[in-house]
Amino acid sequence: MVFASLKIRELKKAYQTNSLTPQEVRKDYAHKAARLDEQYGLFITLLKGRESDREFIPAAAADNLCLEGDRTTCASSLLTGYNSPFSAYALEKAMAAGFGILGKTNLDEFGIGVGTGASPFKTTHNPWKAGYYAGSGAAAALAAGAVMTAFASDARGELRQSASYAGVVGMKPTYGRVSRRGLVDYASSLDQVGVITRCVEDAAFALSAISGHDLKDPTSLNKPVDFYPLPKASTPTKLACPREWRSAEGLEASVVKSFEETLRKLAKAGVEIQEVSVPALKQSSLVAMIIAAVEAFSNLANFDGIRFGERTPGEHLQDMYIKTRTAGFGQRVKEFLTLGALVSSGKHYQDYFLWAQKYRRVIKEQLETVLEETPFLIMPTLPFAPPALSRQEPGLEYRGDTYTSLANLAGLPAISLPAGIHEGLPIGLQLVGRPFEEGALLNAAANVETIISFPGFNPEGEEGK
């Protein structure tokens, strides 16, 4: 049986018509997840995946989403043995909708980064090409066909970038669309839970499953969830393309070529591409980094080894803090927290942190103006093709946020779709929509998906023959 090419809708239909049973699908995918994990380093913890009697949609969750019953490590040594007493609300909703969680996927420690190089547990390889970044275990699990959906977080673009690396679909909804309760977020004002799937239609299903008001998360909002099933888009879409995309630092020719080709394809299919200007794009990744670092410094202050987590004893309280956090956090997290402490210190608060907060408003206003005119923005997802794991280049990850952090700063929904292939590795494009208009954005994305008709990738291509 070939499940990997099934859409969620088709799988559900197969259950309804009894051509598949949840039991056999769970068994098959559990087996597959374990095998592919060995091959690509996808999971931190494999789970059996609870199945309901009627349905089982194989899924995974990034390990910074709490799931009661097993450990939640956030890919940090500090939380190696931490069991959360509660589950993320988004995962509870997902499970109620038929998703079975087969594992907690690998990520950079606390989700700060897109490469899993900062995970103390393992390195995730890109199923498209060994030795290359997959961004996250969640995205790689989709590319490898280990699950049909992964739930993960996106604070500066991590989810969309990893989806781009892995040649799959990644969607971050509007801030407030999905409950953040149970997400161990490093930057609360930016982080949203989103979905990684193999196609736009699945993204619509998975996202609608986890969306909705959570009375216990005051940042979640009460908005109607009305984007699944997707209505058929009737008119060709109009997309705004910020001309500043070309001036990104370190923009690679492969991306320019792929993106220009995509624009041509879209134009040919009748999609109107309108060039617009978003001057703030240039500063957006810097602004997001400053805000994220300060929030991370504060958000991660509870990791002190007192109430939970791995404690390293010390001579006195302060010594214990220092030893616990020195041993528990990886180098990259420590650097990021130090940055956060620095830019929020009395000396620099005004020039950096306050500046970033003010600039965030400028970014939001610029985006609102553009989106008022044209409902969608189109940009590359990343300025470079998936890098080799061996490529140790200072600032690479920071440059990766060039096109993605805008949406987080403005709280807008955004989706990354696979658009092209360069030297055997996928290159993505990104659409950004208006707040709480996920339905329209998903429709536009489905349109673009059809026009591009990305060949897809089935690493299990020979299976079932």
Partner: protein
């Protein structure tokens, strides 16, 4: 004399625990004195992935307090993180209101040595309490400490004054007045001993006439009004000595030593305090609508100042009015009693005399007394009607206080009804006159004092029940008839 050269500049920071059922950001009970770490959850323990949810009752209480303290109420308030590491602080930051506090620019009026003084309040804001450290042994040489997080997340308001206070006495009077006002609003029980009201004082000195502010010290660990007064007094003297030697006061936190009555420098928790305040992204700003404020304002009771003026208008001396209003339960008692009995001064005399004495002895407040305002009013009416004498009334009242019985029942049980029956008293007068011929002769001889003695004899024979006025009349008539 130091006072001639320097004047103290004092500002207070008062933390008051709000009497909400649950904590500020979670559903855990906010009650005091439970087993350690039994009233905790992922939110107040700051576990990964927790989300705080604002308790609107706490916001309502803070608004109520701010209104009672004459503050401007913010229409838009934020909840901000104050970041610092300490083991009693679960999240590594405290959620407080730094940028847009709930209330600003209020005041409290006090009266010191007959002069009115207005102490300005800079702001009132909401924040969460920390956990409590339990040291194994003394704080200095304990091998380990344990943390009880039951208190972590309990809602507090912090009230910050302007540096308007000029003496330790003023500080104490201000605190007492503040406490009375807050007790009237019912938002806190304001018990300094239990820590539901805590006060830190910022103290500095400056040459009289100067408007400059000099280095200040922050005094902590003052757990009663008396400690606040003593701590500040000590600090004023200590700083005065430094000034006179030409030295400079080190800005630092100082710990008040209750036993010694002194202050000493505290090792700072962690050197420089740079709190890196920023709005908590997990707690949206709170909009405070005019309608909400209006609704809360309608629940405010009459406050001490207004009540004081009303009591004075009712004819009470200022001293009585002041003392009564500072004791809400007693003043409430008076107000209810006034609906049954019109003479405020008589009531006040009783409340401030016998009633307060008995309450203090029994460690009760007026609301816990077995004597109800109505029963006291009945007793006083019986005195006015001449049913019993004022003296007997005191005995009756003691019995009422102990048993809660009606005055009429006590009087009947003990046979205390005043004898005003002239027939009975005439009979008795005849006997007394016959038994005391010497006194009769004295009276006849012009010694008017002898009459007093004879009345006394009647009172003695009736064990105080005779109406002295009637007994006097009867005796006078009999003596003239002789």
């Amino acid at each position: 004399m130091m006072a001639a050269e320097f004047e103290p500049v004092i500002g207070l920071e008062i933390h008051v625990e709000l009497m909400t059922d649950t904590k500020l950001f979670c559903g855990c009970p906010a009650t005091f004195g439970e087993e350690p770490n039994t009233q905790v959850c992922p939110v107040c323990l700051g576990l990964p992935g927790h989300r705080p949810l604002l308790n609107r009752k706490a916001a309502e209480y803070a608004i109520k307090a701010a209104l009672a303290l004459n503050c401007q109420i913010a229409s838009h308030t934020t909840f901000d993180r104050k970041n610092y590491f300490y083991c009693d602080l679960p999240k590594g930051y405290q959620i407080s209101q730094f940028f847009y506090p709930m209330g600003t620019e209020g005041y409290v009026d006090i009266n010191i040595e007959g002069k009115d003084r207005r102490i300005g309040l800079r702001q009132i804001h909401i924040e969460e309490d920390t956990g409590k450290l339990l040291h194994a042994g003394s704080i200095v040489d304990a091998n380990f400490s344990r943390v009880d997080f039951n208190r972590a997340g309990v809602p507090l308001i912090e009230i910050v004054t302007h540096p308007d206070i000029r003496s330790a006495e003023e500080a104490k009077l201000f605190l007492q007045k503040l406490r009375a006002i807050l007790l009237y609003t019912g938002i806190s029980d304001c018990k300094m001993e239990e820590g539901s009201m805590r006060c830190d004082a910022n103290v500095s000195l400056r040459p009289v006439g100067s408007q400059e502010l000099f280095n200040k010290t922050e005094l902590k660990n003052m757990n009663s009004f008396r400690s606040v007064q003593k701590g500040i007094e000590y600090e004023i003297i200590r700083q005065g000595k430094i000034f006179r030697k030409g030295g400079e006061v080190i800005p630092e936190t100082r710990h008040f030593d209750e036993g010694r009555g002194t202050t000493k420098a505290m090792r700072s928790k962690f050197a420089a305090s740079d709190y890196r305040c920023f709005p908590d992204p997990n707690v949206p700003p709170l909009r405070v609508s005019e309608e909400w404020v209006k609704k809360i304002a309608e629940t405010l009771p009459e406050l001490p100042d207004a009540r004081f003026h009303r009591f004075v208008k009712l004819g009470l001396p200022e001293y009585d009015a002041e003392l009564l209003t500072s004791n809400k339960e007693l003043a409430d008692f008076l107000d209810i009693a006034l609906t049954y009995y019109k003479n405020a001064k008589t009531l006040s005399n009783w409340l401030m005399g016998d009633f307060l004495r008995l309450l203090n002895a029994a460690a009760l407040d007026a609301s816990q007394s077995k004597v109800t305002p109505k029963k006291l009013a009945e007793l006083l009416t019986l005195v006015d009607q001449g049913t019993i004498s004022g003296k007997i009334a005191k005995d009756v009242f003691e019995e009422m206080f102990a048993t809660g019985k009606d005055p009429k029942d006590v009087i009947a049980e003990k046979g205390l009804i005043q004898i005003s029956d002239t027939g009975e008293l005439e009979k008795m007068a005849d006997e007394i006159l016959a038994q005391n011929p010497g006194s009769v002769a004295d009276y006849k001889g012009g010694k008017e004092k002898a009459l007093g003695f004879l009345v006394g004899q009647i009172m003695k024979a009736t064990r105080g029940k005779a109406n002295p006025k009637v007994a006097n009349e009867v005796l006078l008539r009999k003596l003239q008839e002789l």
